[in-house]
């Protein structure tokens, strides 16, 4: 009896390429949204400048949304992420303005200040997250209650840490993690883009080799080439767009002045890839690897699918809850770095209502509240859609209250479409 791989009859291009139709639908919706705003604003929406701004505005929520995927997949919820971000931001602000310059005597803008502040912030976020997880996993308090308490507590712990004051300006090397304050410039962006494109293509082909090595069915070779070309093209195209955004002339002149030089006539420079976006990309890669290729990720999805089965299979689901919330806490701290660096100071209302944006991003991105389903890239795309919607409406001139009404409708509509989609495609998704 021949034990060869089964040839599944392929119907159309999408099936041959093995692209998730749900993801394709989201990308389609996103494209329609962008083109629609671009038409209404007469070409102001899809400019390098606006795309650059959109990406840096999305980073903070998108980083947290990747962690929220794990939380929701394990059938929990975290309402405290915005407040936790504020506490982490307050801790880091105090470390770099009081602890290192005064208590440790390092003075202002010492090279060690930013690393120390970030490490302390990450530790605080992770510990608080793990504590939430312990309350949920071991003391079996519902996550909704634990994090609703956390929403009130951490917002005001942050307030107390700073006595309600805005803390700033932050350390100069800390600021490179936020927005326009830290970008790679054109050349380095191209290098990062090329490395990314090569790595993506290499990944597609090693996956093919591994499959073929075990005698499983693989895609036709032209499909792999097409997929590689699309992926590499998307990465390099994104870099090209970011590089097309020139630093405004006046700002450049000020940068030269700060260095005591005079700007040469006709000098231009690009922002390139923001460091905060690079951080988001790294977070996305790491979280995807955790989700797909580690035992931890397997256990997260198994527990979400059937908690009893996971427990009976010897998985320590209580400890798993602690780990999932600890990851969420660490990501809140990372978002706090990006958000406070972008604002160049810590304010009390930093991250307000982010919990709702983060949950909405994860849910729009296809994470099912019933657990067991969700993807990292979906959540990031969800965050991008939310941000585009909001900034597009602002550009068109929709007032803030009307914006929120639309965002609310979109959230409910997205979930409805998802339910209909899953029902139609049946049990196979």
């Amino acid at each position: 009896m021949a034990d060869t791989a089964i040839e599944v009859p392929r119907r159309n291009l999408i099936a041959i390429l093995e692209i998730d139709t749900r993801l394709l639908g989201m990308i389609g919706a996103f494209a329609v949204l962008c083109l629609g705003f671009d038409l209404i604003t007469e070409g102001r929406f899809l400019t390098p400048r606006n795309i650059f701004n959109l990406t840096i505005q999305t980073v903070s929520v998108a980083i947290m949304a990747t962690g929220m995927v794990f939380i929701i997949v394990t059938r929990h919820i975290d309402l405290s992420v915005g407040s936790l971000l504020a506490t982490c931001s307050a801790v880091m602000a105090m470390v770099q303005t009081v602890v290192t310059p005064e208590w440790l005597g390092l003075g202002l803008n010492h090279p060690l200040t930013a690393p120390i502040a970030i490490l302390v912030g990450l530790a605080a976020g992770t510990l608080i997250g793990a504590f939430h997880g312990w309350l949920v996993g071991y003391l079996t308090i519902p996550a909704f209650i634990v994090t609703l308490g956390g929403l009130l507590i951490w917002r005001n712990v942050g307030w107390n840490l700073t006595d309600g004051q805005t803390i700033g300006p932050l350390d100069s090397s800390f600021l490179v993690f936020g927005g326009t304050n830290g970008t790679l410039g054109a050349d380095a962006s191209w290098i990062v883009g090329l490395i990314g494109a090569l790595a993506a293509v290499a990944l597609i082909w090693t996956a093919r080799r591994a499959k073929a090595g075990h005698g499983f069915a693989v895609k036709p070779i032209w499909a792999e080439i097409l997929l590689s070309a699309i992926t590499a093209g998307a990465i390099l195209g994104f870099i090209a767009i970011l590089n097309a955004y020139q630093i405004p002339e006046r700002r450049l002149a000020r940068m030269f002045e700060a260095r005591g030089e005079v700007m040469p006539e006709g000098f231009t420079a690009s922002y390139g890839l923001p460091i905060s976006v690079l951080i988001l990309v790294l977070v996305a890669i790491i979280m995807t690897i955790v989700a797909r290729r580690t035992r931890l990720g397997r256990y997260i999805f198994a527990t979400g699918g059937n908690p009893d089965a996971a427990e009976l299979s010897g998985i320590n689901t209580r400890m798993l809850t602690v780990k999932v919330f600890a990851i969420m806490g660490a990501l809140c701290a990372l978002s706090a770095v990006v958000a406070s660096a972008r604002l160049t100071n810590h304010t009390n209302d930093i991250g307000t209502l982010d919990e709702l944006r983060v949950i909405a991003a994860a849910v729009i991105g296809g994470t099912a509240l019933s657990g067991g389903l969700g993807t990292i890239h979906g959540a990031i795309l969800g965050a991008l859609i939310m941000q585009s919607l909001q900034s597009g409406m602002a550009m068109v001139g929709v007032d803030a209250p009307q914006q929120n009404i639309v965002v609310g409708f979109v959230l409910v509509l997205a979930v409805l479409i998802d339910i209909l989609y899953r029902r139609r495609t049946g049990a196979l998704t």
């Binding site: 090595g213 256990y299 010897g314 196979l428």
Partner: protein, 248 residues
Amino acid sequence: MTPLVEMRDIHLSFGGVKAVDGVSLDLYPGEVVGLLGHNGAGKSTLIKILSGAYSRDSGEILIDGKPATIDNPRDARGYNIETIYQTLALADNLDAASNLFLGRELTNWLGFVDEAKMEAETRTIMGRLNPNFKKFAAPVKALSGGQRQSVAIARAVYFNARILIMDEPTAALGVQETKMVAELIEELKRQGLGIFLISHDVHDVMDLCDRITVMKNGQLVGTEKVGEITEDEILGMIILGKRPERAA
């Protein structure tokens, strides 16, 4: 010969209800012991103590004649005790390979889960157990009762179970699939496994088992050899909770 498993005077109460009340039983290699009783007789509870899902209040478990510590499912797996649950403890959203290796994933030298290898191993073992099984990429939610059952059985067989606990293994199955499970039990018996078979169906048990243990209201009614007892006598034990009176 030392028994593979010996459970001595096991007690477990849930808030005043004595679910298992002083039950002792044993299992030898190459033997199938049937566990019978009404719903709520304590069969599943007793077996969940052996598989580590519940912790006993008192009593002793001996494996190969030596006292064993079983406080959670991981401990039980350490003693090569595998369980196939009535509720089919599978994660519906994952595929067959992920379920088969759940909690014991194969990893490569970097510590990452080796999906391709797990799928290859799954294809091999399913080829042996259920050659008709083809849905390797679909989540188990999309499988039939029999296909799901074969995933659950494959899990026990793959990891070299010595002691196999089957809780109503044929409850969700059609005729053909039930026959497949029966053949599998015979095969595993020949390989020297000890099997506990929990069932409602007296008929099933008479066919497959060597000995039969009957429980009622958490207590042991008695253990009899299959050749020495009739179906009616077993029904009497289940319903009345008394051992048959033998002609002296």
